[in-house]
Amino acid sequence: MNDRPELFRGNRIFLSCIYWAFVLYVFVPLFLMILMGFKDSKFIGFPIRSWTLDWYTGVFADAEVISTFGYSLAIAVLSTLISVLVGTWIAVLLEGRKFLGRTAMFGMTVLPALVPGIISAIAFRIYARYLGIEPGMGAIVWAHAVHNVPFVVLVVMARLSTLPKSQIEAARDLGADPLVSFIRITLPYLVPAILGASIFCLLLSFDDFVRSFFLGGYEPTLPVLIFAKLRSGMSPEINAIATVALILTAAIGIWAERFTRRMNKES
C-alpha cells in the first residue's frame, strides 16, 4: 500500500520490531503457561527439569472438571440463543428507522456493554434478587444474555445497513408481506452477521468470570473453578485445565473467523 517505500524504510524496520515484540508479549505468557502444565513437579516455576502428561490424564479423569466444562458450555449456548434473538430484533428496529427517542433507545441498548465488570455484576446480583431469580445457572444465563445483547445489535446493524433496499421492495411488489419478506430476504442476508455474533457471545459467556462469580450458586463455571483453585495455590493441574480451555476457545475463535470471512466473501 506504500507507493514510495524508500521514504519510510527506517520507520518500517523500527515499527516492525515493535510489532513482533508485541506479538511476543501477547504469546509468551500463554506459551509458558501451557509449558508449565507438562512439568513433572507440584511446584510452579522454572526451570522445568522433567516432563509428564499426568496432569492432563488427571484432568480428563476428574469428573468435577468435566462437568464444569459441560456446565459452562450449556450456559454459553443458552445465553447466546437469547442474546441473538433479542439483539437481532433490536437491530432491526434501530437500523434505518427514524423515530422519537431512537437515540435514547440506542444508548440504553449499548449500556450493558459499557458498564464496568464489577458494577454490572453487582447490578445483576441485586436485580436477580429483586426478580426472585435464585443464584445459579438461570441467573448466570440471564446475566450473560443481557450483557451480550449490545454486541449482537452492533454487528447485525452493521450488516443490515448494507442490505440493498431494492430487494425488499421487489419482494413486497411480488406480494410478500413484511413478515415473509423479513424471513425470506432479510434473515438470509443477516446469517453471516448472526453467526459471527453468536460465536462472539459464546466466547464472551464461556470466558466470563465476574458475572458468573457473583450470580453463581454452588456449581462453578470453568473460570470460577480456575479462580477458586488459584486462590488455594498454583499447581500444574490448573495449567492443564486452563490449557484445555485455551485450546477450546482459540479453536472456536479461529474457526469462526475463517467461517465468517468465507461467508462474507460469498455474499
Binding site: 522454572f46 526451570p47 428496529l93 453487582i122 425470506r184 470466558d207 485455551l246
Partner: protein, 315 residues
Amino acid sequence: MTNETSGRTFWGRLVGWGPYHTLMRLATASPRRQFVILAAFPILWVLTQHLGPMLQMLRVSLTDAYPVAPGVEQHFTLENYARFFGDSIFWMPFFRTLAFAGVFTFCTLILTYPVAYFLARHVSRKNQMLFLLLLLIPFWVGEIVRTYAIMILLGNTGAVNLVLKWLGLIDRPIPFMYTSFSMGVGIVYLTALYMLLPLYSALEKLPQSMNEAAADLGAGAWTRFRRVSLPLTIEGISSGCTLVFLISTGFYATPVLLGGPSTTVFSETIAGFFHVAGDEWPTGAAFATIMFMAALVITATFQKLMNSLRKGESK
C-alpha cells in the same frame, strides 16, 4: 395472492392462507400499528433488562436495609453514601482505582499505537487481516487464564526472573508479584486489544498521501507523527482510551490475583459487601453507584476534551 407460481411454494401458500392473511392485514393496517408491534418487545426489554438493573442498584443504595427482613420497615437514607467519605479505607481504594486505570490506559495507548500504526501503514492490505488475526488469537482466551499466565511469567521462580538471573543481572529474584507493577502488566495485557482495534481503524482511514506530502515538505518522522497522524487519529485514541478506562475500573479477579494488600482496588471493596451477610448490600450498591458515576464523568470529560482538541486542530 391467487397467482399460480406463488401458490406452489410454502410461503406463497402461507400468504394466501385465510387466517394468516387476516392476521397480517390487521397487524399491518397502518404504519403506526406495524411500528408498535415491532418496537414493543425491544423497548420493554431494554427498559426492564438493560436499565432496570442499574435503576434497582440506585434504589437499593438509597435504602437502609436490603433485602428487607420480614417485619422490618425500609427507610430512605443517604447514610450509605456518607459512609464512603467517612473512612479512608473506602475512599483510598477508590482514588487508587481511578489513578491506576488512568495510568494503565496511558500505558496501553503508548504500547499499542506503534503496533496499530505498523499494521495500518506498513503492512500490505492483503496481509493486514493476517497480522491482525495473529494478535486476536490470545484475546479469545479468558480473563482468568491470561491472568494466571502473567502470574507464571512474573513469579519469583517465573520466566522473567529466570532470564534476569541467567543474564547475571540479579542474584536474588525480584518480587514482581502482588505489586502495582504486576497488576499493571496484567491489566494492560487484558485490555490491549480494546485499544488496538479503534486505533487501527482510525489509522487505516488516514490517506498515505498526507504523510508523503508532509515528507516532501521536509517534515521528519517525529514531526509527521505529531502534526499529521496524531491529530487525525484523535477520534480513535479517544474511543480506545474510553473503552480501556471503563474496562480497567471494572476488573475484579485480576487485582485479587495479581495485586497485594497495598494495591486494593475499589472493586474489591465493593465485592466485600456482597460476600458477607446480606445487610451490607445497600452500602455495596452505593459504592458501585459512586464508581459508575465517577467513571462516566471522567470518560465524558475526557471525550469532550479530545473533541475540542480535534476541532482546534482542524481550524
